[in-house]
Each structure stands twice: as C-alpha cells, then as structure tokens.
C-alpha cells in the first residue's frame, strides 16, 4: 500500500472504493435523509467533517491507543466530533438540523466512519489518512447529492427548493418516501456496477 502515490488514497474514495456505491457502507443515513438535495448535502458534509477529524486523531495516536480498547477509543473520538457537528448545526442552521433530526447523532454508528478508522487510519500516517478520509468523505457526499437530487426532482419537482420541473409535472410522491430511497439507490448501484463491468471488459 505504501508504494502507491499518496494522491491515489484520495482518488479511490471517489469511485473505485466509493463508500456507498461499492463498499455499501453508511447506508442508513444514505437512505433516510436524502429526500431533498439540501439534506443530502448537509448530511454528506457533516459525515465528511467527522470522518476527517476522527481519521486525523486516530492516525496521530495510533501507536498510543492499546489494541484491546481501540474500538472504544475510536467511538469516543467519533462521538465527540459528531456532537460538535450536531450542536453546530443546531446553533447556526436550525432548519437543516431540524429536518435531519436524529440522523446527525446517528453518524456515530455510521460504519463508513468506524470502518475507515479500523481499516486505514489506524495503520497509516497522518497525511495518507487525511487524504483517505477526504476522498471517502467527498465520495460519500457526491453520492448522497446525486441520490437526493434525483429524489427531490422527481418527488417534489424542485432542486434545492427551487422549482425546476414544468408546471403540469405530477410529483412522484413515492420518491420522497422510504421506497423511493431504496429504488433510487438500487438503480445507482446497478448503474455503477454496469459501468465498472464495461470498464474491466
């Protein structure tokens, strides 16, 4: 892993190891809050913030934290940053905080974040860990943005709250509810697999 150029750690999170489309991690917030593009973007950015800060600290203290209690230590570090993100959103953008509801505190158990600590930050230097976290975070945010944009356009006829569909467009109510999340995510993953198969062939 060390002989790869460092920039590769960033790029892999965007597509080849995309946390949502390829690793299928962090699906709970992916499905739950992507009914509008604004929520999807906010969730993506909040998770990215937590991921980058946690990866930085875990990587910095990776030689100090005893192996037996590493998961407990990671969880405390992650929970601290999640609480910071949660309080920050509640204080400065209360409307978004209200619509994301319990899903911000639930970033603590987002397996993408714990997964990166265990699989990467605990074994690599600070620089590479930061690049890895940034790549995964950006990949996660972009995927959520695409997913939530599709759902908002079809489900409400708007994008970031602005009307973009024609006047007589009938909203697909199902898209803004849970089944719409599963259908859209399924199509996205199928699309990603199809592209990857064709690229390999």
């Amino acid at each position: 892993m060390k002989d790869k150029p460092a920039i590769q750690e960033f790029i892999k999170g965007l597509w080849d190891e995309n946390p949502v489309l390829v690793q299928l991690l962090g699906l709970c917030p992916t499905l739950a809050v992507t009914s509008t593009a604004e929520n999807g973007l906010a969730m993506g950015l909040a998770a990215t913030f937590v991921l980058i800060c946690s990866s930085f600290l875990v990587s910095m203290f990776r030689k100090v934290i005893p192996g037996q209690v590493r998961i407990a230590a990671y969880i405390v570090i992650i929970a601290t940053f999640v609480t910071i993100a949660d309080r920050f959103l509640a204080a400065f953008v209360p409307d978004i905080s209200k619509s994301l509801g319990p899903f911000i505190p639930l970033i603590i158990v987002n397996c993408m974040i714990l997964g990166r600590q265990e699989a990467f930050a605990s074994k690599n230097g600070i620089g590479r860990s930061l690049l890895d976290a940034l790549g995964m975070g950006v990949g996660f945010t972009l995927t959520l943005l695409v997913l939530s944009a599709i759902r908002e356009i079809l489900g409400a006829g708007t994008l970031f709250g602005m009307k973009i569909m024609w006047e007589s467009f009938a909203e697909w109510g199902v898209m803004s509810q849970a089944p719409g999340a599963f259908i859209t995510l399924g199509c996205l993953i199928a699309g990603a697999n199809w592209i990857n198969k064709r690229r390999k062939a």
Binding site: S35, V64, I65, V69, A73, V76, T83, A91, G101, S176
Partner: protein, 191 residues
C-alpha cells in the same frame, strides 16, 4: 508501564478531553439554540393572538400561558398543545378568546407527518393560493360543544372544519388535541 494501566490511562484521557471539549462548545452553542427556540415560540404566539396586544407569561399548574391584554383588558390566551398524529408528535400553538369558547388562530410548531399527505396540515403545495388552508380553518372557530370535521365537503357549522383527503388521521388528531386540551387549559386557568 504494564498494559492494564496503559489501557486505563489512555481511555480515561480520551474521555476526559472529549468531555472538556464538548463542555466548552456547549457554552457557545447553548445560548444560540435557546434563543432560536424562543424566537420560534414567540413568533407563533404573536401569530395566534390579536395584533397590538401586550403579552405576559403566566405559569399555572405546569402550563405556560401567554396572556394577551389590551388597555388592561384580557383579550386572549395562547398556549402550547401537543399529541400524537399519524406518525409523529404534533405540537401546536393555539390562541383562544378569554372565555375559551373560540379559537383565535392555531399554528403548527412541529410535525413530521407523511410527506405529501399528512404534511398538508402545515403546507399544502397542491393548493397554490392558500397552502395553509387547513390551519386557516381554525381561525375564529367555535369550540363549544366540540370541533368536528367533515370529509370531502364544505364545513356547514361554525364548529366544523374540512379534513384533508388522504390525511384524515392527521386532521382528526389536530381536532382531537384541540378539543381536549382547550378544555384542560380552561379548567387550569379558571382554577
């Protein structure tokens, strides 16, 4: 240093630092969060009471009333009511006349009902001219003997409202909450 001691020291340090950081953060964010919540509440109070009145907070038996007076005469009370909707807790601010016989206005403070159906109680985007038509029906609505609702028809009595098609449970929940809790509030204030 043996391993057990190391485990204890490291975990203790991490949690203590974490607690400290969060405590400092809380002193910065708490006033802002509280200010925002008060702002929402006072905006709702202003919306459900008559215009140009003095509002005084009255605490009685665990309930908070916003008493509106004009020229030293009580012109209405506002208070918060809440209860279960179809899938979420509905919280409303309601303003009533001093004798509790008529609703001045009611406003939803929070609800997380089914998007596109139950959410019409707050905002019905299908009705372009009046997206808030459902809650508007409660303006100057009589509550004695009880508020009732009709489906797919225009209300014919001064205690009647029209339920939302496809969201009867949410509509009925609001009627039920108002019926019960306005009576409770009346009993509390007259005690």
């Amino acid at each position: 240093m043996n391993n057990t001691a190391k485990i204890i020291i490291v975990l203790t340090l991490i949690t203590v630092i974490s607690g400290g950081v969060l405590a400092i953060l809380d002193t910065y964010t708490k006033p802002r969060i509280e200010a925002y919540q008060n702002q929402i509440k006072s905006a709702a109070v202003a919306e459900v009471l008559p215009k140009n009145v003095k509002v005084k907070i009255v605490e009685k038996a665990d309930m908070t009333f916003y008493k509106a007076t004009k020229n030293n005469k009580v012109v209405g009370y506002a208070f918060e009511v809440s209860g279960g909707g179809y899938q979420s807790e509905l919280v409303l601010m309601v303003g009533v006349t001093p004798d509790f016989s008529e609703i001045i206005a009611a406003k939803i403070i929070s609800q997380v009902e089914t998007p596109g159906l139950g959410t019409k109680i707050e905002n019905d985007s299908a009705n372009k001219e009046k997206p808030t038509w459902f809650m508007d029906q409660f303006k100057s609505l009589k509550v004695d003997p009880a508020i009732t609702y009709v489906k797919n028809a225009k209300p014919s009595k001064n205690t009647e409202i029209q339920a939302i098609t496809g969201a009867t449970i949410s509509s009925a929940a609001i009627v039920d909450i108002l019926n019960k809790q306005i009576k409770t509030a009346k009993a509390v204030i007259n005690k």
